[in-house]
């Protein structure tokens, strides 16, 4: 009685012909999910003159690209993008749709989910296929997408399932899913979509736009020094920056430090920031909530510096220094300089 399973879709976010990293990461995750389900991976690529991006998508495992090209799709805009995607969903009935939890993704995914009456789970940190026993209907549903995310402040991980009809929709932050190796020359299909938009769909007008490459690239960093609320103040946080500079590391922060206004969000590591896997992660004054750990637990080596020996960060640390950060960092710099 198994019904045919729809394909796994990935929304490809692009700007000026450059694909967002998170979309490529999701293609790789999509490939893995599709292999488990025995389905195809298909990409939704919307934009203007973006056909040249298809080979990159194919090389990472996309079987088919739904390509919608139109000048009105050049920049992301919620209404036209939703309309194009909804038409394809109705036509092809995908099983799963993955979106990057970018500013645009967090605008588009809910709009699509609302129109489609589909469930949507934000900021998943893990996705896998399993069966789900629906207590409401008494049915066991095979091959459902387990949407796993830290929930609600504390040390809680929730597994969420969309119990209604497909598609099952999720958003994922940058860096959470790992890239797999591209196979240049891997072949795939391209399905051109006829874009039909009315004037009434294109009401938003972008008057001005400013965008620059991110000044920080934490994802690629080998050594990261990260500061938390335990740094106490903006001045306290400056110690973290100084320390990072001294040992040639990138600066990161926990959400609490970002929320306090000590550093901007591009530096945030964790569930609602970026996920990193450096060679060395030095956590300074970070207690280590489950959300923060979700973004750095896979670092090769972790040093935790915290005056509170009970801080959860120590549970995943390889080296722990129980002490005051402002005392420890200068000693570290001295030892480091003495070494060279």
């Amino acid at each position: 009685m198994s019904k045919k399973i729809g394909n796994v879709w990935v929304f490809i976010e692009q700007d000026g012909g450059k694909i967002a990293d998170v979309s490529l990461e999701l293609v790789c995750k999509g490939r893995e999910l599709a292999d488990t389900l025995g389905t195809k991976v298909e990409a939704l690529l919307l934009g203007h003159n973006v056909k040249g991006l298809c080979p990159t998508l194919h090389s990472l495992g996309v079987d088919n690209v739904f390509l919608a090209e139109d000048p009105r799709l050049n920049q992301y805009s919620p209404i036209p993008y939703t309309k194009v995607i909804i038409e394809q969903i109705k036509k092809h009935k995908p099983n799963i749709i993955l979106f990057g939890a970018t500013v645009a993704g967090r605008s588009l995914a809910p709009r699509v989910a609302s129109k489609q009456l589909a469930g949507l789970t934000a900021d998943c940190t893990e996705l896998r296929i399993d069966s789900f026993e629906d207590k409401a209907s008494g049915q066991t549903l095979p091959n459902k997408l387990m949407q796993i995310r830290p929930a609600f402040g504390g040390n809680i991980i929730a597994t969420i399932v969309n119990s209604w009809d497909d598609p099952q929709m999720v958003t994922v932050r940058e860096g959470v899913m790992k890239m797999s190796e591209a196979k240049p020359g891997r072949k795939g299909d391209v399905t051109a979509i006829k874009v039909e938009l009315d004037e009434a769909d294109c009401l938003l007008q972008i008057i001005e736009r400013f965008k620059e490459e991110k000044s920080v690239n934490l994802k690629g960093a080998q050594i990261i020094v990260s500061g938390g609320y335990g740094m106490g103040s903006k001045d306290g946080f400056a110690l973290v920056k100084k320390f990072a500079e001294a040992i040639g590391a990138q600066v990161a922060a926990s959400r609490a430090a970002v929320d306090a206004g000590w550093i901007d969000h591009d530096h945030q590591v964790g569930q609602t920031g970026v996920t990193v896997r450096p060679r060395l992660y030095i956590a300074c004054g970070i207690s280590g909530s489950v959300q923060h750990r979700a973004g750095m637990a896979e670092s090769a080596k972790i040093i935790a510096i915290n005056h509170d020996p009970a801080a959860p960060i120590f549970s995943i640390a390889h080296y722990g220094i129980v002490g005051r950060v402002e005392d420890v960092l200068p000693k570290f710099v001295k030892a480091y300089k003495g070494h060279g």
Partner: protein, 298 residues
Amino acid sequence: MGLTILVFAKQVPDTKNVTGKAMKDDGTVNRAALPAIFNPEDLNALEMALELRGRFGGKVIVATMGPPTAANILRHALYMGADETILITDRKFAGADTLATSYTLSCAAKKVGTFDVILCGRQAIDGDTAQVGPQLAEKLDIPQLTYVEEIRDVKGGKLRAKCQIDGGFEVVETPLPALLTVIDANTPRPAGAKRLMQYKKAVTRSELLAKSGGADYEDANRLAEEEKRLKKSNLWIHEWSAADIGADPNRIGLPGSPTKVKNIQSVVLAGGTYKDIPPTEDGIKGLVHDLVAEHILS
């Protein structure tokens, strides 16, 4: 004529220091176990609404869906300067995910009738999903601007706002009505002292009944009088049930929520596996030596 500005706000548990005890067996949140606060970015939305009214005139209506105690944030909205408040409350709303919530709010917005702008915080701190704003815009079939920092102008039925995007910003113009989700880019005004004295007496019907010792039939006339008096002094918090807003029972609360919590896992931390480095010069020197030797530090 001015603008009719609708603000949707949420009362949220203060998510700092939440433990597994705050979750019920069905995976939903036991809000009673936590202090409840006005969702921070919804305060930014309300501040933006009050500024907008200051510039262009009109009125600010604040609505929230939640348990009866959510009336507390509506009173706070009145202290800050809201003109009118609505509590959307019903046991049938319990267990709503973002889809069911946005449907419920859309029914309430339709009951309000005409409006020019809907403002809400970008996201609520208890879920951080940022989904309800865009979903509500879709349900009302109006455009949305997300991550709004600042409203530049309102003119000729159009609104121009500066919005954050990844790596920069956009200035976008939208026809009205439109929905805007607002980020932490202004400073919400404190409660006005005079307004606080005045509006702390604002109540919902349920609160009035409870205060009057229950709905005795004999008291019905007296209660009706009291209600009339409160309404006249603008001390009345509207209270709308699922039936009041004409919501389809299958689209609200748990039945209206496609996402189900399969399980909740408390993360048990296995402690004590790390190498303890004393915070002394020698201790740290040894650590740096090891890191360099292992080519972790260069």
